[in-house]
Amino acid sequence: MAAVAAEDAELDVDGLRREAETLRSRLEEERRKSNDVQLRDVASKLEQVPPLQMKVRRVLKGHQGKVLDMDWSIDKRRLVSSSQDGKVIVWDAFANKQERVLSMPTTWIMSCAFAPSGDIIACGGLDNKCTVFPIDKDLENPERKKRTIAMHTSYMSCCRFVKSGYQILTCSGDCTCALWDVDSSQLMQSFHGHISDVLCLDISPVHCRTFLSGSSDKTASLWDIRTGRCVHSFDGHDGDINGVKFFPTGESFVTASDDGTCRLYDLRADREVALYTKDCMIFAATCVDISKSGRLMFAGYNDYTVNVWDVLKCVRVGRIYAHDNKVTCLQRSPDGTAVCSGSWDTTLKLWA
């Protein structure tokens, strides 16, 4: 009985799969027909970006293991980083000093975040949790005051504070994202829709009402924070989406993927509008960020480099041999004056 049902189900699945494929190719055809003037063509009348002279300005050494994530403080000079070695370090990057070193009971802290209020940090990873620590200057033992905020059923890949210090968004290998209240550790909203691990998220810079997620199901989704609804889903990538970032105006975003490419998607046009790649770029893009004006895009890759792209002209304008191992995280400072990159080579470097 079960065998027959299983067979029917399988035939059904195949039929549905074929139908989905036909729809997909029809959609692509329609998109191409009504295709706009290419971004590249519009940008052709713009001046070229002058050659960038980005140099390493600070090297932050202190982690004993691979650096997995970092987040800037809104004061533009401090940042927090987390590592495979189980340590979370708060740095005054400008002074190249370690302000705090927090030890977690588990290794592989895949994400860390700095609250806008500047007094707490969040972190988590393979422990499936998100933990917050207060980091006021006078506090003796922050580890004692830590609290578990979020619980997932698989690893937590990314956590970010929503505007204030009072809500955290997390995404996880359990295919969901979730919104948590920091004070009460309550689950405020959960976001279902991805069919595989969710690897990254970014909150809209314009208001706190929407956020993006990138997943190993090769799609990026835009969510309404309040209702939990997936507003729109964007496909196009041929590999896991490791990084996602809003454009400064909040009307478009860029993604970095295992397929070695970065792509620009527009929310209003509902589609991909630019592709950033070269034939020789075959290593996964792991992280991405946009400069303050939106003209430049920085992406970190598994070939140990950071590439700088002209967002409009879709050409590479800089290549930094940044690290001695894979680049895992990258973020420009809040005022756009520097870019920080973290790597498996255990260091973080600041570029300007």
Binding site: A6, L16, E30, K163, D197, D240, L296, G336, A352
Partner: protein, 395 residues
Amino acid sequence: MMDRGNTQMERIVMHMQEEQDGVPIRTVKSFMTKIPSVFTGSDLVNWIVKKLDVEDQAEAVHLGSLMSAHGYFFPISDHVLMLKDDGTFYRFQENLAKLQRMFARKWEFIFMQAEAQANDLSRVDKKRDKVERKILDSQERAFWDVHRPVVGRCFDDVCEQFGDYEPFLSPPEPSNPWITDDSSLWEQDKMGENREIPSRRVRKWSLSFDELLTDLAGREQFLKFLEKEFSAENLRFWLACDELYAVPLKDVESAVQEIYSEFLAPGCPSPINVDSKCQAIANKNMEKPNRYTFDACMEHIYNLMKSDSYRRFIRSQQYKDLIQTKKKSGAGSDKQWSLVPAALGGRNLVAKLPSLPNRNMDGEVLGELSSSGNQWSLRNKQPSTSAASSSSDGL
């Protein structure tokens, strides 16, 4: 997070081993022996430079070294897996690709079996829903395709507007702290109320309403301006609602009550300028107060301020006085604006603003374009289909 660079790498390695088009592989005679099937480092580097669009020799060496580290080829007389751009001999690892493929397939097979065993029937339903959703999505998309804006133009305009404020292209004033080790740029913000605000920062407020609102000094100045016009309650309401997102959950309800009694309740001290519809929504939401209670009113007030008070502020004497605080070139206010670097095509940023009189407005009037763009997005987009269109500037 499997690195799919492997398949692309394999493709390149296959290409490298092709008879006609690949890296020249030969047997080298040396003393009494023959070294079969080798190629030199420089041959490989030259091949990469020719066939893949690398920028320079260094990039080719870097890429080749990484491929070597993955095991696709190796130096025949050394154990260090690195590529050198010279006469060193290397050989391709024949079986690696085959082995990797074999194991990859095995894993896929195991996975499929496990999936079949789990036999989750609900998956079928999910897929069916997905198909239906795709149909609906495609119909919706087709509808918006008719009404969508010109994508390319919008990016273009945004980047140009903000190009002058791109720290990596035009150094900030007084300097980029990371480069000069001087943190005065950040100290500026911490100074008291009577500090002098740099003209460049003031100019930024004219680029968009959001730029004014996100700058603390901008908010202060805007509030001062509105107080003179006796319409400050709108901004105070908006700022109070914005603060709600930063309030701990336990304090939200009381904060919401405060806002309501100050700005919305009948007979309140600072009634704000909302229509009856927004008032009704707010009244209803007060039954279950939360952070989002005043969203509709906030949006209404935001658009009101943007289309009315903001424009008048940018045209006001107060704003002009702020801009004139530091005369750069000394020859008069006209000259100030030509400091746009040539890198941006030498275009006059100010030519794009509709509100400043006595200027030659050659070139597009960008200000008009973006605001009409926003009006488009309010008029034609149904609120239920896109949360992103709600209150963001139509740039």
